[in-house]
């Protein structure tokens, strides 16, 4: 699209208080091999535009995949109709004088393009990973996959803004299961955690084959392991579970649109109220959380959000104190609060709403050995496999694939079905130790769901391993 698109649509911009045109072109390629067989390869190309109009006290949008001149004109007409209809019926109308002209670009660093590797080579690679996953007879189910997504966008508006961005990410996945005495245990890699903004070079760095053999040994051990005991204990949570904990019990409750009630019919509200910002002690002094769109390779890194707001790193929680919400330029006006560049849309056919972006827990001072040796009785929890939290993001219960019991500062034996539950308002106050940079991992999930109409979006979480005291842990039936 680029300049050609800008030249076509600029003359179409209507004479209104404010209008933006957001063009999105998405490419997706999914390749999976399961139980030694390549599944049908799927390639998806999707493009369209969303026109948003604020005019005379009303607002509306029109979105279409018909990006001919006629198609865009039709979408503008739809946006105008809804902006006219909604006059004096809106929850709020923003102060448009605060909007600025913005210009810039952002491109994911893809040192090796996805297209540089043939579909045959990718298929052969995944089939070879399948062989590694089925390297022992105890394995009853296995599979590996690669998903590549590339999202190119162009944003222009009546302030003469012009933003071009291209975010590309890869999600590798492996699953391996073993059955023992009629009960199956599973280990995974990727899935909910290991997505990165990158080109195919990321696949070259992660050594899926080595990890496959590790997973095989782990799942066989797990299948014969005892159930996790029920007790109140100290937990050391690994980064691939920490990201879920941060996501559900810090990220979501801080989203400003939840606090303002937009999500009460679907994704829920929040236990956080506006008066808590700047006052509330969210967690212990060890807790430092940032909105950070600047970390290279993290999933939601960018230069601007989908409303054209420049993206910068900002603290949400510092030394345990709650500072600011995850609210974009428009919704922050509803409370007169400071904004972050978090207004994001999943595609051209959905309007931007407050989303997480990259929400990171900043590293502390302990390496992994120091974290383990600090625990007399406890459990190391790895890899999320179940998540559930109430509509105010308070009462949660999370399950992990693998637990390892810690006794007298040493890892002892593996247990299956480790779950833990708690209440957000208490949980983060029990954070006693935060791992250092050597335990920190830049991770992310591609499927955060929210919004009406519904939107799934990718978010990043960088986090070290962390220790929490007095946590209610339990096992399976």
């Amino acid at each position: 699209m680029k300049e050609e698109f800008v030249n076509i649509v600029k003359p179409l911009l209507p004479n209104v208080d404010y209008c933006s045109i957001r063009f999105v072109s998405k490419y997706s390629n999914i390749i999976n091999a399961t139980r030694g067989v390549l599944e049908p390869v799927v390639i998806s190309e999707d493009e369209g535009v969303m026109i948003t109009i604020y005019n005379n006290g009303g607002a509306g949008y029109g979105a279409t995949c018909d990006i001919t001149k006629e198609g865009i004109k039709h979408a503008i007409d739809k946006a105008l109709e809804w902006s006219k209809f909604s006059k004096n019926k809106l929850t709020y109308f923003p102060d448009l004088t605060k909007m600025k002209r913005v210009e810039g670009t952002y491109f994911t660093n893809e040192s090796k393009q996805w297209s540089q590797v043939s579909v045959k080579d990718k298929a052969d690679y995944l089939l070879s990973i399948n062989k590694a996953l089925k390297s022992k007879s105890a394995i009853s189910n296995w599979g590996a996959g690669l998903r590549y997504n590339s999202i190119e966008s162009q944003f222009i508006d009546t302030n003469d803004s012009n933003i071009r961005q291209k975010l590309s990410y890869i999600l590798p996945q492996m699953i391996v299961s073993a059955e023992y005495k009629k009960e199956m245990q599973t280990r995974t890699y990727g899935g909910h955690a290991h997505a990165q903004q990158a080109g195919y070079d990321f696949v070259d760095t992660i050594a899926m084959s080595d990890k496959a053999y590790e997973l095989v040994d782990e799942v066989i051990e797990l299948s014969k392991a005892p159930n996790c005991d029920n007790n109140k204990t100290t937990v050391l949570i690994a980064p691939d579970q920490m990201i879920l904990q941060i996501h559900e019990s810090i990220g979501h409750p801080l989203e400003l649109d939840r606090i303002l009630g937009d999500e009460r019919n679907y994704a829920g509200s929040s236990f956080v109220s506006p008066d808590m910002f700047g006052e509330y002690q969210y967690g212990s002094k060890e807790l430092n959380v940032t909105f950070n769109p600047t970390l290279e390779g993290e999933l939601a890194s960018c230069s601007f959000d989908d409303d054209g707001t420049f993206a910068e790193k900002k603290y949400l929680i510092k030394e345990g104190k709650l500072l600011r919400p995850i609210g974009g330029f428009f919704s922050s006006q509803r409370l007169g609060m400071e904004y972050v560049a978090c207004s994001r849309a999943t595609n051209w056919n959905r309007p931007p709403i407050d989303r997480m972006g990259n929400i990171n827990l900043e590293p502390g001072n302990y390496n992994f050995d120091e974290l383990i040796s600090s625990i007399d009785n406890g459990i190391l929890l790895q890899t999320n496999n179940s998540w559930s939290i109430d509509d105010k993001r308070n009462k949660f219960q999370f399950g992990c694939e693998r637990g390892t019991v810690i006794k007298n500062g040493k890892l002892t034996h593996v247990v299956k079905n480790p779950n833990y539950r708690g209440v957000t308002e208490d949980f983060w106050k029990n954070l006693t130790k935060v791992g250092d940079e050597s335990t920190n991992e830049v991770l992310g999930t591609s499927n955060c769901g929210k919004g009406e109409p519904n939107q799934t979006i990718f978010v990043g979480h960088a986090t070290p391993a962390c220790v929490f005291e007095n946590i209610d842990v339990f096992g399976g039936v």
Partner: protein, 439 residues
Amino acid sequence: MKEYFSKISDYLFNSLNKTEVLILNFDAEVTDFIRLNKSLIRQAGNVTQIGIHITLIIKNKTLKSSIRLSSNFEKDSIILLRTLYFLRREISELPNDPYLMYEKTTHSSNLINSTNLDSFAITDNILMRFRSVDMVGILSIGKIIKGFSNSLGQFNWHESESFNFDWSLYSSNGKAVKNNYADGKWNDSFFSNLAEESIRQLEVVDNHEIKLEPGKYKVYLSPSALNEVIDMMSWGGFSYKANRVGSSPLYQMFKGNQSFDESVNFTENLANGIAPMFHSDGFVKPEKTNLILNGVYKNSLVSPRSALEYSVKHNAAEYYESPVSIELDIGPLNSENLLSELNSGIYINNLWYLNFSDRNNGRITGLTRFGCFEVKNGEFTGPINTMRFDETLHNIFGEKLVGLTNNQQLIIDTSTYEERSSHSSKIPGAVVDDFSLTL
């Protein structure tokens, strides 16, 4: 759009070589989305989207591509042909697919259900009805279109116009009730009654909160609440493949080691016409498939790929092998007299955010949400605080099931991820004993 799909189908089929088979799945919707908060408009607009999924098959190889269409033939025909050439070039590099199966006999069909819904008038009606309360929700209105064609001569079309209004009312104390109205035609007086009923329910729920302690309670699960449990059970529960590889929460039932109460009958029932009867590879779906009969696991949903992998017959299930129109038979409990049936316990209108605690043993967790009450001696005593449950499917539908109610509710899926869903369920409520509330 039907003529347009037919035109591009012919165009592509005429471009094929003799050894090639092409399958086309057409997906379109024209929807007005009106998002509401505090009984005002939060975001409103129109989305028009047309997509086509193209599957090229050459002997035992297959490759799929999805693209957007503009409905401008001059533009689309170039993209379609470019996609076909790309698929031809890439497919040669792929290995044979041993589980490739597609329909080779033709079963054409046509269903068009068009009404003229007026989004602006309906939105005004909603805003007017709820102007005195705090309402939040989403109204989706418009056409959903699914088409299928293949180069062997089959052509199927399913076009329906509908609305789905899903809303909650909130009191100033944060108490809430939830409701839904979905249909092909808008009925003002029906909606007016529903709206008034919602407002009355809110007055009932807006009372002093009763804080429950964790423990075991006799509960009534409304159709909406039970639907959430069934949704969770459908994460692999009825999938043939999931049961063969052991990842199903109903694995022990599939193997014949467990059963539900004999009053429990689950059916995949497509007779309501909400979901298309044709499979994405052209197979015609059976109108009814018994999944659990008299409490015993009867049939799984078997996709053509699973059929070839495990040498069994398929029943035209999609690759994900989960129900799209599940029905649970009614039971003996009089739904008019539920409070007496429950006597003392918890009346649960909605459950939320379910997941597995122990998938192998069908144990699930989740939370109460929207209008849940304590009942004592057959009377509501007040709304409860949000509670977490942790319970097995075997208890809910088996040993601890007191009974199912004697009428069902049609629940149309409100999901709008990527596109508006055509899934639905038809289920009664249930009274369950010793239901574990844990937090």
